[in-house]
Subunit: 760 residues, 2 copies
């Protein structure tokens, strides 16, 4: 029974090597689950499991019955209406980014919400178009209609509908096809349960990603604010191409549009500040987007901006829905890659935003279910001529901040969109496109403010800061899809880096008890003579085994291989001398009967190098050599003080095959120069694995494992005592050994010591 005695840590037990412990405490035989067992569990079926899966596939079934009408409905209605209006405006604005008539944007704002209502797991995000996705779809559209590109150039001056239906229809068809197939990809990923990927999106990465995405959105809206013709680029470096295009034609800016946008932006920021300051006193935030839209539309209509200042307006809105389409397989072949990127980015964005709210309000979201919901949204939206959707941070922020509690708010926002689609669309016809763009920009402030993260992260964790910065740069430079891939890859690399250069340290005893700490950290350290305790605080694998070896060599102060070779070289000379009868073994050691032997073979044959790496073979010699004493014949072998090396592997969570070979080599080298190696702090699995990999042999034995550093240290001390007594008793043997006690702790075990007399 463990009993505390005052505030004392008192332990008395035998010293345990792993083997000794194993003998005393029998291990239970444990059945380790095989891959097949896991598969069985995965594939087993029960009523409960079926019910759970069904519920998880239709999240509405779990939250709608628990809906509390009197408490939530009102705020859901308020939120729904506000969000709905923004949906309409953003739908139109993002339709512009896709290069199709804005009215199609309304479909993209309507269908996803309906599907997400039934299938989504987040309560607060507003499904629908996202600017960056719209740009991606737009780029595909432009690529497949190269002719349309030049048309788009003239676009601001001619209402699109004048271009004849065939071209626009084709563009819509491309957008819809891409959308359907991105949806199919998402559905597939959801069904294949690859939603677990989201664990690779760390906070730092998401923060950097959304900030860069905000910059992309900002740049994408510039052309509408300045009313310039910028071809849509999406390849890597697109952001620079767009900026270049804008600055080369900056003099063509439509001043009326610019001024309107600036005014709108200014009002937006001021009113949003007011909303923020008086959050407590205002019953609902001022619906400034709505007010501005109404005023801007009125002014534009009243003063006939379109003809007077040549501004671009939303233009003819078709009312009602259009008949669904089936994707064009010819288009599919050419856009399959784009669809995949869109699927990934759409999911990444939606999931990032959903996670922000799920963390805030503390409810679970399910990556796989999100994939299914988004996938089906896109399939449905695409079929009805909408374009790829996900969620927009700004719109979701509105839905949540105006009091939205559940997706009921979402469905109400869809109703607003529906009303506009069916009846009120014509009212928006005189609205300037630059106003839409300015309204979209007004909500980016929050995302852009994430730049302050950098400083915070730098203080906390350099690697995390690096992830933020690199993600930002990658996404800015390479675009969202490639940038995201590069960031995730980079982030995973940081994990490798963190383990690749472990802070290895030499430990020593503190306070003469069983505590061992970094030698450099404390002043009252106690280091056993001839014993090094080396700690590696990370897994060892192919990429850091050489680093580990180097650190170990630095810590002990010599390369065991070098010592081994020097000793073997010296051995060869001694053996040669002995054969030639120039060496006499005396009771007091051996005496060289020749002086000043020439150092003929100082340079060694490469062929013989392998031989030098072998264990020192002393079986044919009638005496043994103390390498730390003076050797005859100018043979110089570096003296080493070390007799025991303890490797603290308590933080080495795994070894791979490459590192195992490297580790074995260095252990062998140490063992061959008579340094005892002990490995401590490993768990049982670790030793079992080494056994399976045939790690142990005659030199590296499985008796090197001890439970703790202290066990190993006590074992070494004990051995020292034992050896000393053995030496003392062996003095009566036929050959007389001259045993000299070395105060430096240079004690060997398994080997008797003969001091070597030298004559020069």
């Amino acid at each position: 029974m463990i009993e505390p005695i005052g505030n004392q840590y008192i332990v008395a037990r035998p010293v345990y090597s792993a083997n000794a412990f194993g003998e005393e405490h029998k291990k239970k035989h444990r059945y380790h689950k095989t891959f097949l067992d896991h598969l069985k569990v995965c594939c087993s079926c029960s009523t409960e499991k079926a019910r759970r899966i069904a519920l998880s596939l239709l999240p509405i079934a779990s939250w709608l019955p628990a809906y509390r009408v009197k408490e939530w409905l009102l705020s859901d209605i308020v939120s729904g209406i506000s969000t709905g209006l923004v949906c309409v405006l953003q739908g139109l604005a993002y339709g512009l980014l896709v290069n199709i008539p804005p009215s199609y944007g309304l479909y993209a704002a309507f269908f996803p919400v309906i599907v997400y209502f039934f299938l989504g797991t987040s309560r607060h995000i507003s499904a629908g178009p996202f600017p960056v996705l719209s740009i991606m779809v737009g780029a595909t559209v432009s690529r497949l209609t190269p002719m349309a590109n030049t048309v788009a150039m003239d676009f601001p001056n001619n209402s699109t509908s004048n271009e004849g239906p065939s071209l626009d229809d084709y563009k819509v068809m491309v957008a819809a096809t891409v959308t359907v197939f991105s949806g199919i990809f998402q559905l597939l990923m959801g069904v294949l349960q690859v939603g677990f990927m989201v664990v690779y999106l760390s906070e730092s990465l998401i923060s950097g990603f959304t900030t860069a995405a905000a910059i992309h959105v900002l740049v994408s809206q510039l052309k509408f604010i300045l009313q310039l013709n910028v071809p849509p680029y999406t390849d890597p470096f697109s952001i620079f191409k767009v900026l270049n295009s804008i600055f080369t034609q900056i003099e063509k800016t439509n001043i009326a549009d610019l001024v309107t946008s600036l005014i709108i932006l200014f009002i937006l920021f001021v009113v949003k500040e007011i909303n923020e300051c008086y959050k407590a006193t205002l019953p609902v935030p001022i619906p400034i987007e709505l007010i501005l839209t109404v005023i801007a539309t009125g002014v534009s209509y009243g003063f006939d901006f379109r003809n007077r200042f040549n501004v671009t307006v939303v233009g003819k809105m078709e009312s009602g829905f259009q008949s669904p389409i089936t994707p064009d397989m010819k288009i599919v072949q050419e856009t399959i890659g784009d669809s995949f990127s869109i699927a990934i980015v759409g999911f990444a964005v939606a999931f990032s935003v959903a996670r922000v709210y799920s963390l805030k309000h503390d409810y679970p979201i399910d990556g796989n279910q999100e994939l299914i919901a988004l996938g089906l949204s896109n399939v449905v939206t695409g079929s009805f001529k909408g374009f790829a959707s996900s969620t927009a941070l700004s719109r979701s922020a509105i839905q949540e901040s105006t009091g939205g509690k559940t997706q009921i708010a979402g469905i109400l926002s869809a109703v607003i969109v529906l009303i506009v689609i069916m009846a009120l669309g014509f009212l928006l016809e005189p609205l300037q496109k630059s106003v839409l763009a300015a309204l979209a920009l007004g909500n980016l402030k929050g995302m852009l403010m994430q730049f302050v993260e950098i400083r915070r992260l730098w203080r906390k964790d350099k690697y995390d800061c690096l992830i933020w910065i690199m993600t930002f740069i990658f996404v800015i430079v390479l675009g969202l899809a490639l940038g995201l891939a590069a960031s995730v890859a980079f982030q995973l690399l940081t994990i490798v880096f963190r383990t690749q250069f472990p802070k290895c340290s030499t430990l020593a005893n503190v306070g003469r008890s069983n505590i061992y700490k970094n030698k450099k950290d404390y002043s009252d350290m106690y280091e056993l003579e001839g014993v090094k305790i080396f700690r590696c605080p990370s897994p060892i694998y192919f990429a850091n085994i050489n680093f580990f070896k180097q650190k170990l060599i630095d810590a002990v102060g010599f390369s065991p291989l070098r010592i081994l070779r020097k000793r073997n070289k010296a051995m060869k000379k001694i053996r040669k001398l002995q054969k030639e009868g120039l060496l006499q073994v005396t009771p007091k050691g051996f005496i060289c009967t020749v002086d000043g032997l020439k150092d003929s073979d100082e340079e060694l044959d490469n062929n013989q190098i392998e031989e030098l790496n072998q264990p020192i073979n002393t079986t044919d010699l009638p005496f043994q050599i103390d390498w730390n004493a003076n050797l005859p014949l100018n043979i110089v072998v570096p003296r080493i003080e070390l007799h025991s090396l303890i490797l603290d592997f308590s933080a080495v969570s795994f070894l791979d095959v490459s590192s195992m070979r490297g580790l074995k080599t260095i252990l062998q080298e140490f063992i061959r120069i008579k340094v005892d190696v002990y490995i401590v702090g490993t768990d049982d699995d670790f030793i079992e694995k080494l056994e399976r990999c045939e790690f142990f042999d005659d030199e590296v034995k499985d008796s090197i494992f001890f439970l703790t550093i202290h066990d190993a240290v006590l074992h070494i001390l004990m051995k020292k005592d034992y050896n000393a007594s053995k030496f003392n008793s062996s003095q009566e043997n036929d050959i007389k050994f001259d045993f000299t006690t070395h105060t430096n702790g240079g004690l060997r075990n398994r080997e008797c010591r003969v001091s070597v007399e030298t004559k020069f």
Copy 2:
């Protein structure tokens, strides 16, 4: 002083929390080197350093003066001649793969050896053309000369030289340009010291990579053996395209070529077996390649195979060297990507092979110096109209196995090539190309035998086995350059995987001392009541923090958040009752004066959920609640036995920012339901980092750290004793507490316990 007493581990010291230990043993202030300091060391200059760098840049300066003429020269000469002959044949064969006249292959076999002699660090590899690199260059050549492609189709029937010099010259120019620029890339990489990358090429990866490369070489030679016209593909999936192309035209096979090749291959294998079996008795291995070449050339010339069987022969050999060229910048623009891939693959192959021999003969090789040597080789070779070179495993194997000791053998092989270039080339003109191909194939056996690795690796380490298989598949399917990149990425992912799903375990005491092991492993375990010891054996970061949380929740058996919410819900009810005066506090607890209160607000507002996650506020209540006792009014709160949780973080080598937040959340949840959390086994840096990241607050304090599990356990036991005595003495207070001892160990600290009387 630590003194062993028999075989006993005896320790008596105070129980240490990290804080207590820190007070007793003052930490030294350590100056941590900043990035700037490292830079200073890097950029500092001394004579010694300059000498070392100079020597490392010119390895020959260190090994040539130590060359032992009488011992090594003979074997170097034998090896040099054998290798030289193979060089000639391989040069010609690989020239075919580049789609240029074979005689240019001799330049590729000559110049690299000369440069490598001076600059290379490996003693055994034979620099020169490598089949897969040749294919890569060949593909670039074909891409830039689309017309040439169709010409190449007719190629076997017309000697190349008939095609007019302009086309061939252009092809040679393309090959040379690509080669020069791949050399420039390698030089740059060498100068920028990115040779450290090679640590990412693990043994399993190199084994899989070279095996797949052998398959690529095999497939590439098929067209020469069957004498079919296969356009050179190198995009991903090229291997399937080539095989498809071969099988669709298999009926066009030239039977004479096929028969010759099969005979050659058969003889080659038999004689190589003989060489292997009688290695000991034969003075030199039978130079079967040479014999076969001589015979094949003679037979082909004598029986006029070219005209009789329509076989393709080497054809006109130009003798002497050609004037150097400068790369064509127009070609550079179009081939810069190819050059980069070739640079990487060339380096990867050469380094892999060099490492095989450096491991075998135990001498160091230097990745950066290898890059410089290969880079300069390629620049020189390209300038003299050769094509990209690296090393071929088969040729290096010959150089080493015939007794090559140093690069002297290499330089001699270059002399042989030189002789053929200058004078003897014309002798090889009647040689069949299929013979060259068969000779190249004959040496692939060793590489293909590496398939047996799979079984060995599977037994040793599943992840390493997976790396092998995936590398093989990637390289086969995607080609060498892309495949290598994918394999390295995959291999790094495995490191993440290994840490991502740690085998967390619950520990318990073994043998009543300070040893704690996995509860499931031993039978004589002792678990303290109400205490869980949880061990996570890997770093915790963004990708596994949720996994960690889930494992922890599984280990303790409940979700602390759920308990906290239930308790807070119950608290609200109790407070409501108390306000309404329905609850009376008595000395024996509290009594509810109403029975069967309706459960009106079972479903909670989402808004209030956040409130429920807050700490339980009991300051306004005149009593405290024992959550494990029966509560009034049908309030059901799950009872928990746990009072202390010990997290063994000795193997948690780092935390990132994402995981820190996750960890803090779960710690808070436990602390809020009055479970004391202790973290043990961390090093001091770990705590410092948490402090820097503002991890600690009023709830999660920095006093939770203890040195070892046993310290924490003793602390818990002590606290239990202390609390028990405090309870006993507090019975004289004005409010009488009914202290009931719970044998299940459900003891709380910082909280007195009131049993709650219930009346229904």
